[in-house]
Subunit: 517 residues, 2 copies
């Protein structure tokens, strides 16, 4: 058996079932191995950032890694931005990167580059497979490394000759590092802080934004009076009617600072201490008040649900969590704006939807408008690397074929990885993409106001503009096989969104809205 | 004056006139500085790979660097693949990457990553600007580093607070490292080898593929009987009627080995010793025969035109170079294929055209069909990182506004950076893009035949296929404001290409051709 076959077989044995692929010559033996492993589903992507973003979406929804298949340093380069988001989301990903044959690297052929250095920037684990005899074990270790707590990107560099050489064999699965138990002392310290009666809040991240941790956190909050906050950009937030209501920390540091004003104890549960997204002159980088004590109940490497259960037990937290009521907005009429579009989404969001949110400024009203919708998951831009939404939606849809996916995209961000639409069409994924077409990088106008940079200069106006020429997302989607339509009024948008939700498979709606800034 | 203004002003003083930009928040002070420097043309790109590829195209055509403007590690990541191509082309590029404020990096905010490590993978020079007082000098050094022989990517990391802080001032231009003189001893050694009467060839790369070096090389070849070869992927090859005819080394190692068969002396002139693009089992990595002596006349760091002149003088090389005759193919009729399409291109190619060639397998007949066309430049995929063509064309068109640009694209490669079409439209660039739509990653079918991997397995067939769904490049182009049409016969293609050449501004023609493999 050659190395490639051992890699493919070991991936399957280790529970990896999907490979998001953009192969080149160096990966053809692995492609041939996939021929013999039909249970390992190969999903074709036209750009590596689609493959890596899809692997992120898949991993967020299943807790298990998908594999990627990338071509040498340049292929990995194209996939890095979404691997950066995956790293921030602590998503398990087995990032498989083909490389030149071991004996060929010395020639510094045109595609040669420092692929190891590239890999290290996004991976918690990197290995260069040097020997077909070790290929199986290397893969088993990669899967374990990706899956162990917290999840991470594990990159395996697979030279072409390791793939094609005989003498390999599959390896059995390896145990992944389990989440660490949180000590009784830590639980006790946090419990004491919450019992003290001073204003407190839990800041949830990682698996704490999902059931069952969420409910335990809700009971703790209800019992102690602590507020329930979550990170600005959670990897996956379970929310909607019947779940504990969680307040997301604002993106703008001014807002987040206001949310945290008066908090004397902030308990981190799978989240990091909040800092501002960007530096701004005169605004603090640390968002907590000076007199706020920060307690870490659990990191993403810890057993978060157990820690919250233990904390709830210690606190005798039996007051029921405050649950989000089932409430929908009223269907709006008239002008289509970011606000009325959000109301339409909130009214129509189906039960069990997976919402991928890269709507940026046009998404301002979405969390509020959907808070009381039927239970759903909300996936966000964890690392700030735009171009995440369309790929993430592809991975989430493949992870959860029975759930509708709603991908909410800003027009500017959509263009970074627009070819993901082709994968939506090819795999007949049940994804409804809404592109909020406001014709500008509006978030930069907002940031410019905060920074005090001039907003009316010729370069500023020019570089933020997306209307010269306008982007026709309906044409772009159709060009890649996705049925698409425009919506220019609230009623239009309602009709188009209803149709898209009712019909399986991918759809795109270009929602023409004014820019907020 | 703040750091951003000093950076912009120093770029201009140092001769940088264009900035291919995809800014984010950290770059807004630099955008504001561009407002005040209208001579520094900002060109908006929807994806960083477009910005970096355009800077490569600009630098190849002018010999002077353009600046990029990228946003932190993820923005740089998206630009890396085309910077890899620029590195291989030895193109001068000032790669300007905004970063978090110096005091903000410690917070490890979501967009934070190891941007320095990323930069080092593609840059010959990297500096992190740490102080507004030094910003001007840092930029002057960056431009000199980019421009010095050989050209390279010089990356300047510009923290947001360095941009916004006062106390900066522009710096005067610095002298770039001049090309090194080649010693008389080296000239003498090479002259002796060429005089020896054994079969010899010159292998041209770098500036040796352009005038005036090319003509000197042609006289040397004609006088000594040495053959005139050039690299497989020259950064910029001047060719066409009236120029010395140069044989490009084949992409397939079997072909290149045959071309080099019997050569006893290979003289490298700005080229590296030829190696195979990929390793293949049983095929050699080194393409020269065992008994071939390799002589280095000049590297890309050397004064190549002077070295060739000196060598010609030493050899008394006054036999006129063999010049390419003016000859055009006959206009074909009937089926549109890669071969008939090449004949159409060869028939219609305008005088002074800049041809960007990322046609891959569909380009097989293009060099032959255009060899005797009026003088033109041919830019190729130097680093093998696909997704180069459309951005490179944008940069070449901005560099040479009076010359028509013909961008020859494979359908698969086009999709990596398809949003470059928007920049073509926005800047009203005189670029005719031909997408050879063969519906597959055909080069991988070819490579699969060479590697002996099975070509009919389900994963192989699926991952190489681009027809499910088909990509409609006419819709994609129109969606980004570029007029576009299909061509399905040779006559169609002739008409469409004539129209596109006749009319200023961008056009796209989807040339539907069968796959060769």
């Amino acid at each position: 058996m050659n190395g490639a076959h051992a890699v493919a077989r070991t991936l399957l044995k280790s529970g990896v079932e999907v490979c998001f692929a953009n192969p080149g010559t160096s990966e053809l033996h692995f492609v041939a191995a996939l021929d013999d492993e039909p249970s390992l589903r190969a999903v074709s992507c036209l750009f590596e950032g689609v493959a890596t973003g899809a692997a992120d979406g898949y991993g967020r929804m299943t807790g298990r890694p998908a594999a990627t298949l990338l071509h040498l340093g340049p292929g990995l380069s194209n996939g890095l931005a979404n691997l950066h988001n995956a790293r921030r989301a602590a998503t398990p990903v087995v990032n498989l990167v083909g490389d030149h044959a071991t004996f060929h690297k010395k020639y510094d052929a045109p595609l040669e580059s420092d692929v190891d250095a590239l890999a290290r920037t996004v991976s918690g684990w990197v290995r260069r497979c040097g020997d077909p005899a070790a290929a199986g074990i290397d893969v088993a270790e990669a899967v374990a490394a990706a899956t162990g707590a917290p999840g991470q990107v594990a990159t395996l560099l697979l030279p072409a000759d390791v793939s094609w050489s005989e003498g390999a064999r599959p390896a059995p699965p390896l145990a992944a590092r389990p989440p660490a138990a949180v000590s009784a002392q830590t639980i006790g310290t946090v419990a004491a802080a919450l019992r003290g009666g001073e204003p407190a809040a839990l800041l949830l991240g990682g698996t704490a934004t999902r059931e069952p941790a969420l409910s335990a956190a809700g009971r703790i909050a209800a019992t102690t009076g602590a507020r329930l906050l979550c990170e600005t950009f959670p990897a996956r937030l379970e929310r909607g009617a019947g779940l504990p209501a969680v307040e997301r920390l604002g993106y703008l540091s001014e807002g987040a600072t206001a949310q945290l004003d008066g908090v004397r104890h902030l308990v981190l549960v799978g989240a990091r201490a909040p800092v501002s997204f960007f530096a701004h002159p005169g605004l603090p980088g640390v968002l907590t008040p000076d007199d706020c004590r920060i307690h870490t109940l659990a990191t993403t490497a810890d057993d978060i649900p157990a820690a919250l259960d233990d904390l709830a037990d210690t606190l005798a937290a039996d007051t029921p969590a405050v649950l989000q009521a089932a409430v929908r907005p009223t269907l709006p009429t008239g002008e289509l704006t970011a606000e009325t579009a959000a109301a339409v989404v909130g009214t129509l969001l189906p039960e069990g939807a997976i919402v991928v949110d890269e709507a940026n400024t046009s998404g301002l009203w979405l969390p509020g408008a959907t808070a009381g919708a039927p239970r759903h998951d909300w996936l966000t831009l964890t690392g700030g690397a735009i171009g995440q939404g369309l790929p993430l939606a592809a991975g989430a849809a493949i992870a959860c074929p029975d759930r509708p996916v709603l991908c909410l995209e800003a027009d500017g961000s959509a263009m970074y990885t627009i070819s993901a639409l082709w994968t939506h069409a090819r795999e007949e994924l049940d994804i409804t993409t809404v592109v909020f077409a406001n014709g500008s990088y509006a978030i930069l106008d907002m940031e410019s106001q905060r920074l005090g940079t001039p907003a009316n200069g010729p370069a500023h106006r020019d570089l933020l503009d997306l209307t010269r020429p306008g982007l026709d997302f309906v044409a772009l989607a159709r060009g890649m096989g996705v049925p698409a339509s425009h919506a220019t009024t609230a009623e239009d948008f309602t009709d188009r969104l209803r149709e898209a939700f009712a019909e399986p498979g991918p759809h795109l709606i270009e929602a023409v809205v004014p820019a907020l800034f």
